[in-house]
Symmetry: C2
Subunit: 158 residues, 2 copies
DNA sequence: CAATGTTGGTTCGTGATGCGAACTAATGGC
DNA sequence: GCCATTAGTTCGCATCACGAACCAACATTG
């Protein structure tokens, strides 16, 4: 079954961990997706809104964060703008650039999503004790750490 | 900032955990998505193939697992079949039902995905020690546990 | 300062995804 | 046998994501 002959000392007992990580990702995304669907929000748009609750990036930055092409972002933002969730304004420093930011409506939606998200994930977390939850959060944060700074979006190894 | 007045005893120190969980989900899906894109596979199709490596479900079951409607599954499977990844066959017990299963090509693709997935996730996991990895896997499994049996696919709380 | 190249965004066309509505066919209950 | 239910499919539509092509505003040269 195991084909780890060539590296007898660094085998892959991580297989189980990888599976668990992937499963938890699918489960979590499933839940987020369901909540988003109730507001007619795609996963990409949810992520965009999440970023905007924090920052005021340009189109290109936004696309880079999500690992998408700029045309995709154009469409995404155009539709979101039409729905009154975000707004575009020319960047002060660079005449070419366009800043994107949340409207007050958009900010409200983000808040709702956060609340509903926590509520929806609660049943999962409740299976762990308080100290286990703390531990889990700690481990995940350590694992992600410097990652969301620049590697995460989809170009981790390219 | 905190609006937890009404339930003074069950506050939300889990907020951090929720964030970490969601972030890890986005990061993980991003990686999976990138690998899938290299094979021209959507996330949904990847999940389908993963399930098929294990089982031989009907269309409706498959749709239920992913939390999708059956028409969506029809299209998904039709395209996958056209590409030679899966096949359909009438179910023996129920004349209406259609079983779906992997072709040998499809099975090979799944193996590739698994290998590449482990490789791509390795850098993340390496940030943790061996014992921490074991711990993390344990906690995730505990958290998901009975979940993937029937709750996960997108109807956790409905 | 003018010519050139680069960067930021948009538009267009195309394919995949996902859904609601409507349909066919097989099953099950009576 | 008749009717409701269930399994899959098809159709039309909106979204999402991309490559190609384009314009406008910088930046760099000479």
């Amino acid at each position: 079954m195991k084909k780890q002959r060539s590296t007898p000392r660094s085998p892959a007992p991580d297989d189980g961990l990888v599976d668990a990580l992937v499963t938890s990702a699918f489960v979590t995304m499933s839940i987020i997706n369901r909540i988003g669907a109730a507001h007619d929000l795609s996963l990409s748009l949810i992520r965009v809104l999440g970023i905007l609750s924090d920052r005021r990036p340009r189109m290109a930055e936004l696309a880079h964060y999500l690992g998408l092409e700029k045309q995709t972002m154009s469409g995404l933002i155009a539709r979101a703008e039409k729905r009154g969730l975000v707004e575009r304004a020319p960047n002060a420093d660079d005449g070419r650039a366009t800043d994107v930011f949340l409207t007050s409506t958009g900010a409200k939606v983000v808040k709702q999503l956060q609340v509903q998200g926590r509520r929806a994930l609660a049943p999962l977390l409740e299976r762990l004790s308080a100290s286990e939850r703390r531990q889990l959060g700690e481990l995940l944060r350590r694992m992600l750490d410097a990652d969301d700074a620049e590697g995460a979006k989809g170009r981790a190894s390219s």
